[in-house]
Amino acid sequence: MTPADVDAKIRTLIEPFNKKGVAIEDATTFAGDLEFDSLTVMDFVAEIEDEFDVIISMNQQAEIENWGQLVAAVHKLQDS
């Protein structure tokens, strides 16, 4: 999958979690802009993990603050 494909796929996965319909750009942050709490993060990460058949450990999650970083990380993970 290209980064654009990964982006499109995760965009559909995030819809049910993006309750306020925040417009998502690369710089959109999960904790700040999207107001994700730890439970929402877990559920959202689990959706991505299942879809791409990857593991995003908590250590990796700690490095991911915004949308652009997430797409890049998932693209790299599903490639390896």
Partner: protein, 412 residues
């Protein structure tokens, strides 16, 4: 010159490292301004028995102390501690691996091996340190720890200290555990960390399936049985024993500060290389060993728990009665059925929870007020833990207190 120096001083604006806690200070002040007694600053002026104390000046029934088997005032437990203090002094002033291993440290480890029928036992200064030490030492950089998202803080802290890759899965979700195990790179070290009883809601883990799946996928398994020792399973060895998988668990973690009635933590195991952990586990090496009185009391208590059948039966009776009674009154509880000696009463929010906690305290009942981030899903809970020494009458009295307080606060 003088001016330059002044400039330098004013330029270095100090950053108050405590500022990051301002929101917590604010929440607390709001709570106290509403006239609520501080739930996190209770003082027990006198402790009358495992189930009664004078708290903030009131005669109070204790329903939130994890003193499941009521061993704190057992005459044999107290006598053993007194004798050890007379004979060995007040403290050890040293690490277990230097001058801190006395006769009774060895004896309490022998008592644990007898209790669990296992080859090895290692005693830590607290249960927190047992998790911190064992988990961080077992799983290091490049290894994977797969753990339930609702795991205790000591488990998470052990994970963080060891630098392993941390992979959480949804609470008690067998399928989520299996999926994650299968995705871990081949050849990596894997430790699955589970709890027998989860202390916030008092629910039990499906260890039978989870341990099997962990083993099928080549992982080692650690189970924290802090809240089950002494009264779950045929010999009181915990949920793993009750579900028939104790032999497949590599490491059991436990504590003396609940059913045993003292303080301290431990790990028991049949692993042939277990003893090396005494040399490499930093929270074991770099801290002082527990006082001899604590060790002697603990050893006596553990051996008495091996024969505590009647007390266990009464504890379960208490748990069932309180659970059914609270449900009948209309309270929302953490579990559909009583699964342990913990019964969590779910509060609508923190404010109502704090008011209810205070109303109960004024009735003469102490329970734990538990709130985020310690609780799952941002819930506020009134957590009740029963004791084998609560009489049937006390449980009825407790239900009356809940009814009056619940109606006064408008929760039921």
């Amino acid at each position: 010159m003088a001016t330059a120096m002044t400039d330098t001083i004013t330029a270095a604006e100090p950053v108050d490292l405590l500022s990051k806690f301002d929101p917590i200070i604010q929440t607390r002040e709001q709570l106290l301004a509403a006239g609520v007694e501080d739930p996190f600053n209770l003082v027990m002026e006198q402790v009358l028995s495992p189930t009664r104390a004078i708290c903030n000046g009131r005669d109070t029934i204790l329903l939130g102390t994890y003193n499941y088997m009521g061993m704190t005032f057992d005459p044999d437990v107290i006598a053993a501690g007194k004798a050890a203090m007379e004979d060995f002094g007040a403290g050890t002033t040293g690490s277990r691996v230097l001058n801190g291993t006395f006769r009774d440290h060895r004896d309490v480890e022998a008592a644990l091996r007898e209790f669990y029928d296992m080859d090895h036992a290692m005693v830590f200064s607290t249960g927190y340190q047992a998790n911190l030490g064992i988990i961080s030492t077992l799983a290091g950089k490049g290894d994977y720890i797969i753990l339930d998202i609702d795991s205790h803080a000591s488990i998470y802290d052990g994970c963080a200290m060891g630098n392993a890759e941390i992979v959480p899965f949804r609470h008690n979700d067998v399928e989520a555990l299996e999926k994650r195990l299968k995705r871990i790179p081949e050849g990596a070290g894997k430790l699955v960390v589970l709890e027998g009883v989860y202390s916030m809601m008092g629910d039990v883990a499906p260890l039978k399936e989870m341990v099997r799946i962990a083993k099928e996928n080549g992982a080692m398994v650690l189970v924290d049985e802090a809240h089950s020792m002494g009264f779950i399973g045929e010999h009181g060895r915990g949920v793993a024993e009750e579900q028939g998988v104790l032999d497949d668990v590599d490491f059991i973690i436990g504590t003396f500060s609940k059913s045993v009635g003292t303080v301290g933590g431990f790990c028991v195991s049949n692993h042939p290389k277990f003893e090396v952990l005494r040399l490499v586990c930093r929270p074991y090496v770099f801290t002082a060993a527990l006082p001899p009185a604590v060790m002697a009391s603990s050893a006596t208590s553990i051996r008495k728990l091996m024969h505590g059948g009647n007390k266990r039966a009464h504890l379960w009776e208490n748990s069932r009665t309180l659970h059914a009674g609270l449900r009948a009154l209309g309270f929302q509880l953490g579990t559909e059925t009583p699964q342990s000696a913990i019964i969590a009463v779910i509060m609508p929010d923190l404010e109502k929870g704090a008011m209810m906690w205070e109303a109960l305290l004024k009735e003469g009942l102490y329970v734990n007020l538990a709130r985020p981030p310690a609780t799952p899903a941002g819930m506020t809970l009134l957590r009740c833990s029963l004791c084998a020494e609560h009489s049937a009458e006390q449980v009825q009295t407790i239900l009356g207190m809940f009814e009056r307080a619940g109606k006064a606060i408008g929760i039921i």
